[in-house]
Symmetry: C3
Subunit: 313 residues, 3 copies
Amino acid sequence: MRISATFLDEISHDIPHQNWGPKEWEEDFKAMKAIGIDTVVCIRCGWKRWMTFPSKVLKREKQAFDPAMDLIGLFLRLSEDYGMKFFCGTYDSGNPWWHDDYPVEPEVKLMTAVNDELYERYGSSPAFGGWYLSQEISSQAGHGTDCYRQMAVHLKAISGNLPTMISPGIKGAKAYNERMEKLGKTIDPAEHESQWDTIMQRIRGLVDIVAFQDGHCEIELLPVFLKINKKLCDRYGIDCWTNTETFDRDMPIDFLPIKWEKLLLKLKAAEAAGITRAITFEFSHFLSPNSSYRSAGHLYNRYREYLEEHHLL
Amino acid sequence: MRISATFLDEISHDIPHQNWGPKEWEEDFKAMKAIGIDTVVCIRCGWKRWMTFPSKVLKREKQAFDPAMDLIGLFLRLSEDYGMKFFCGTYDSGNPWWHDDYPVEPEVKLMTAVNDELYERYGSSPAFGGWYLSQEISSQAGHGTDCYRQMAVHLKAISGNLPTMISPGIKGAKAYNERMEKLGKTIDPAEHESQWDTIMQRIRGLVDIVAFQDGHCEIELLPVFLKINKKLCDRYGIDCWTNTETFDRDMPIDFLPIKWEKLLLKLKAAEAAGITRAITFEFSHFLSPNSSYRSAGHLYNRYREYLEEHHLL
Amino acid sequence: MRISATFLDEISHDIPHQNWGPKEWEEDFKAMKAIGIDTVVCIRCGWKRWMTFPSKVLKREKQAFDPAMDLIGLFLRLSEDYGMKFFCGTYDSGNPWWHDDYPVEPEVKLMTAVNDELYERYGSSPAFGGWYLSQEISSQAGHGTDCYRQMAVHLKAISGNLPTMISPGIKGAKAYNERMEKLGKTIDPAEHESQWDTIMQRIRGLVDIVAFQDGHCEIELLPVFLKINKKLCDRYGIDCWTNTETFDRDMPIDFLPIKWEKLLLKLKAAEAAGITRAITFEFSHFLSPNSSYRSAGHLYNRYREYLEEHHLL
């Protein structure tokens, strides 16, 4: 079991920025390649007034800030050079679109316009390989799935049916509520299964890959949830990946590199559940020798030794 | 628009210490010089029982701890060697002097005695170029301005009218209250203008430079506040600088290096408001290749590239 | 006064892991040796389901996770190679054994079984030099001391009377309660003395070394507490060490390297109280040139310069 994909955390809104330029990003693509990563997923192409590319739509509709760099262009060029597939995340306005009393239509309309512009601008790149629906849900069956359906239909239509991915959370003890407090209690697995059975019925054929985040529930409960996720995905013909988080949610400070032993446990649990592909959130801060956090470089070395030992490299 | 001054965060009380000795400080002055910094401002010469120099007054009055190093002496020597001006911050007892029911007289008396001692000891250095009133206020017109007036009169008298600087906050959503909770809501710009009009009337002729901190309000509102600040300063004949913070206030952890794009936006907003000088809080942790935070080194590189590209270096 | 011992923070539960392998650990033992550290204390051999060695007992009783590495074996080998004594910390289930309504017997029974297994496995190493009772207390005289008594009797019996150590906290303003809130107020020194007089009466002859943590109370009060601790230890024939914490408890983020000046003050206060040995929590994150925190490397340099200057190296 190895990690074959990573998110790229732009536009970041909760992880401190590393201030990399093209040279530093290229170094990082090299380091990804060296451990077998073949897919990179930009988590969102824009957030509130921040953009990863100079979007005329966002400039007009959101008075968005001129970006210091065309990150989408850079990521595509590096993906081409290093033989990777690039998935592009959709725009996130920061509005509470998942509230059932919040009008989701204007949100979808804006996202759609941004996607059109984006695909027109970058769709000809041979590395452009799919879409990531950046709207994260954990168990809502209402607006969240409406949004996924409408977006996926559109994205597939404009891009010749490119694959679509989502990465939902599990309603686990270590997930946050909207006031940024940890839930403290993990959802009953049967309840999780029932809610996701409903959601997957509604998104099958539209969402191709579901990669649940693996850090929200207690590690002891993870195997149970992974098996449910795999079973549900199989039932609805969806690819089941694991989003194996490389940051730690058990520390006074979230968002520092995870302990190698814990990452290994999570990968093994996914393997035991029959899952064959892992994406991580995310390489550049938490698993990279180039990270601002030195312990991420050590994690890279431990992971690489493990791959070598098991002839996975 | 470039950053031509930086605070030196001694005595720090909320940013983790970097444990530098004279050699590491010299490296950092070199790195400052290389991007055009010509003024350094020690944020406070003492805090509670901690001192930047072996003050007999603080030893006697506060049972202050013997410092491990004479930082003021070191900073002055490095300022001389690297052709910089040094501003010295006043002593901060940690007492709530800004409360209108707290007696401000003993505070001013102690600060005055420390300043006398300090200027006697270091005033002959050709680099000694001004004073920083370390008492930060955001909108109080009572004790805060009383304190500024009394201190400034005294400091100017003992030092041959050296310039004085303050760096107030804006009562913005990201400012903290005394219980270290973020305010969440930004003051109405008209209310800010009215309060600061009153304050500036009282400090004109005594305070020469006002450098508002630029990180407390939402970045969308910053241009409005910068224009008000500039207008008020012009009205009262005060130099208007911006204190462009190089740490990020939008993350789960405050006090990590800011994203380059955000810093650039803030600098441009200051320029658009007609402001010509920027100081930062602060170079050594957040914008330095020598910082404990590796992303600060990358920020330095991005900023330097920007200066080169615009022939500002 | 110098630091002659350090904890090894495995299994860590609140400090981000550094992901070191055998090579990195060896580098760190070298760096310890170079500043005169002769004793290393593994803070706990297991925590909840995590283990430092492949314990059959914990595997069976706790469904513990297979460790990625045999850390106890590694630490003993390095201790032998670098001429250090190794103290082994007892298992911590994470249960609230110190509550007087929580049954302590099963806890002691499990710890005892783990200790038996551990000593059988590693006791023949010439570096195995003592035990650390990992159950931390600050002032409880009930279950806490019961637990210490029972454990110490057993540990001494199986290991030919090897020395035992505890490292309690002071109920200081910066200590946490069980909800991870800082207490805010420091216990009255007389009350501390009275409580610890009772505790020491009960553990004398069983616990050989008491190393109070020195970071919980205000630094101004530390000399008072250190003197009380030394007096009590002397009264009951216990070795009094100081556990001089190398992380800072005064910052928005606890657990980053301390300021050198503060560490020096604490060491001098211990010396003035007649204490001759200091252990630190802990070298590898907060005082090491190999730490993920660059400021720890600078702290190492400052400390080393101090040792050289005072001919302590």
